[in-house]
Every structure is written in structure tokens, then in C-alpha cells.
Amino acid sequence: MRLFTFAGRRRVAALLGCVFALLLAACEKPDPLQATRLLVFGTVVDVATWGVTPKPAQAAFDELRTAFESWHREWHAWEDSPLSRANRAFAAGAGAALTPDLLRLVSDARAWSQASNGLFDPAIGRLVALWGFNQGERPDAPPPPPQAIAELVNAHPSMDDLTVDGEQLRSRNPQLWLDFGGIAKGYAVDRAIERLRARGVQNAIVNAGGNLRAIGSKDGQPWRIGVRDPRGPGVLASLTITGDESVSTSGDYERHFEWQGVRYHHVLDPRSGYPAIGAVAVTVVAESAEKADVASTVLMIAGPTEWRALARALGVTQVLRIDESGQVELTPALAARLHWEVSPPPTLTVVPEP
């Protein structure tokens, strides 16, 4: 018998054709998840999109890379930049015209500073520099002398020292030095999300140095967000996001140095001039990356008895705070959606609604 009749061969050819077409279709279908990692802005910026084909996704990534690079050049508090030039002008008692983004940062920062009772204070750039946290590489050196810290704290530079003089800004306080480290990442993430949306991207995550905003979903599946364990190598807890939310964490494990067995981290308390004590990490979930960024910094500075009042003042309801003894406190709104990724889960206290 012949294995293949003529009609059979045609059928075989058709079948083979179908199989190859299916395989080709499988090959050509692009991954719905497109992602990139940019080493820009003095940090790591991860961008992911869902449901965007590779070419437009790459175009969006390129735009964001350029944007983050230009923001870095514009907002750097110490390297030659429009902001550092303005800072030098303020110190000399002169006025300075700012770029539109910087004006908006100043105006937002002033509002956050007022809402947080001055705990959020981007005017203490000189203190940041005194501690050496303004440089990429802090030399191995002891903490600054207490006298120098006290002098800057007593000079009390604040956002209220800035005055508008026509189109120019001036400072009443020559010790004011703007450093937007506590807000810039959040602000930039929000602008990046706006740019993605302007390109028609509906589902995306932008994460700048651990400060992230997620919009949309993955074909109806929520984005899965992990929260870093401040004292372990992995993820402490997780939550899902669908729609539009931001998560930011401030921790003492970020920029820091150790001297004679003591850890000094970069979140400075403007009241003392020293790194904030009490909390090792604070995570905030909020409606914008800027708000989450500022709030996580402020609540890291706020002490164990004040943080709830400050959360209320800032309008945040979802907070996770871990203190030096490992005690975990969180608000009911976050407790309801947080999933513990460590076993056993930590002993935790759900505090009353802020």
C-alpha cells in the first residue's frame, strides 16, 4: 500500500502548513510585557509596559531615558545645574529664575513642608552636604562635628524663607540650600507616567529607586508589588495594584555609612540635624508617587508617637512602619491588602485609622 495518496499528500501539506503557521504566529506574537532598566537619575529606573508592542515601547523608553537624564542635570543640588546656580544665588542674597519644573517642585515642596510641620524640609541641603550624603561616593569619614550640625540647625533654613520677587525667587536665609532628594524621585515618576499616558500607554509601572507608580493592569491581572524586607535579603510583604497607585519606601538601609559600629543613614531630621531615629523603614501607598515619596520620608522622621498625626496631616491612610526593635505597625487600610511573604509573618500591630 502507498502511505500517502495524492489527496493524502495534499492534506498532509495543508496540515503541515497549519502547524507552521501556528508556530510562526506564536513566534511573531510579541511579549505583552516590555521592560527596560535605566541607570539614570543617580539611581535605577525600571519601566515596564503591558500590551504595547516592542517598537512603540522602545520609543517610550527612549523618551523617558532622555527625560530622566535632563531632570538629573536640571535638579542636581550640587553639581553645576540650574538648581545649584539658584542655590548659590540665594546664598549670595541674589535672586534666581527657575525652570518651570523647578518652580513646580518648589511650590509642591513648600506645601508639603507646611503640611508636615516642617519635617519635610528640602531647604536643609547644607546639612545633607555636611553629612556627605550629597555625593555619589561618601569618603570613609566620621560623622560631622556636633558644633557644625548645631550651627546649621540653629540657622533654621526652611521653605518659608523663599520669597517671590517678580519672576525671581530669593531667600531671606543665606543658609538655605535646596535639595529635592526627598521628593524628586516621586515627582519624576509622576511626570514619567504622564508622558507614557500621552503616548497612549494605559498599563505601566515606573519605578525610580524603589519609588513606584503602577497604572492599569496586565490584561485584567493586577500588578504585583513587593515591599523589601529592611533587615533581610528579600521581600517582606506584597500587595496588588489595579488602576493607579503609588508605593514608596524610605529605609535606613538606603544611603548610609557606619562609623564605630553606629549606622548613620541619609534621612535627616531637620529638628536635630541627625539621622532620624526610631524607624528602620516606612512604606506608604498613596495616589501619587510624589505624595508617597514625601510621606514615606516624613513618617520615617516622625517619632513613634507622632507618625499617625502626621499621616493624617498629609492625607495618607496606608502606612507600614517598622521600628528598630523589629516591631511592625500598620494602618487598617494597608493591613487589609498586605500579604506577608515571610514565614512566620512578623508580630504586628494594626493601629487605629490615622
Binding site: M1, V19, D46, G226, S238
Partner: protein
């Protein structure tokens, strides 16, 4: 004398030849093999990617132990693969964030050394998290 009819469902009799059956069987086997190759491997990530400034410089199998050195703008970053994991052994930088990331074994885990613009990432589709707040 005609050969005995193949044992097929009456509805298919006369429509599917032995050749068709062979091709169908081969196709199915091929699809199964593809599925295993494309998805099965992700159950256990087996590849890590080392990038300098976003450019791939090393693609390492986590199944083969070894030590590697890559050159970046700030100097040499050393990586080690052992027991299905990868880690940054040393990388220039004041805070040693790359080293402090420890052993990476799960898909999506990353170690980054900013001064040397190096990133080490375990590849795989089955990432547990889309993004990490840190």
C-alpha cells in the same frame, strides 16, 4: 482485495489517512516539546544576564558553577555562580549595594552596582513580583 480499514471513529473513516495520523502525532509531540522548552524551564530559572550600561556582556547558565569578571567604567565587577544561584562578589562603589544584594536565584531578582553601571539579573517569565518598593 482492499486492505482492512484502519480502526478509526466512523465519522473520521475515509477522511484521515495513516499519513495524516503520523503528521498529527508528530505535530502534537512537537508542540509538547516546545511547550516544555518554552515554559517548563521557567519553573527553575537557569540563566542570568550581566549588563554594563544596559548592554549584555555575559549570559550565564546557573547550572554551571564559575567565577567571572566584567569591566565597567569604574573598574572590575566579579560575579560567582554556584548551586543554581548567582551573586556579585565585588564591585567598585562606596556602599557595596551590588554585593549586599546577596545570592540571586529567583526570576527577576537583580543586583545593581551604580558606579560600575552593572546589573545582574536572573531571567525568567515567572517573576513573583512586577516591581519592588525598597
Amino acid at each position: 482485495m482492499s486492505p482492512p480499514a484502519p480502526a478509526l471513529h466512523p465519522a473520521l473513516r475515509g477522511r484521515l489517512t495513516a499519513g495524516d495520523a503520523v503528521v498529527l502525532a508528530l505535530s502534537l509531540a512537537g508542540l509538547v516539546a516546545l511547550a516544555v522548552q518554552l515554559w517548563g524551564a521557567d519553573a527553575r530559572p537557569d540563566t542570568a544576564l550581566v549588563r554594563i550600561d544596559g548592554r549584555e556582556v555575559l549570559r550565564l547558565s546557573l547550572a554551571e558553577a564559575g567565577q567571572y569578571a566584567v569591566e565597567g567604567p569604574a573598574g572590575t565587577t566579579r560575579v560567582e555562580v554556584r548551586d543554581g544561584r548567582i551573586r556579585c562578589v565585588s564591585s567598585p562603589g562606596p556602599q557595596h549595594l551590588c554585593e549586599r544584594a546577596g545570592w540571586l536565584s529567583h526570576a527577576g531578582e537583580v543586583a545593581v552596582g551604580l558606579p560600575n553601571r552593572v546589573s545582574i539579573e536572573v531571567l525568567g517569565r515567572n517573576r513573583r513580583f512586577d516591581s519592588i518598593s525598597y
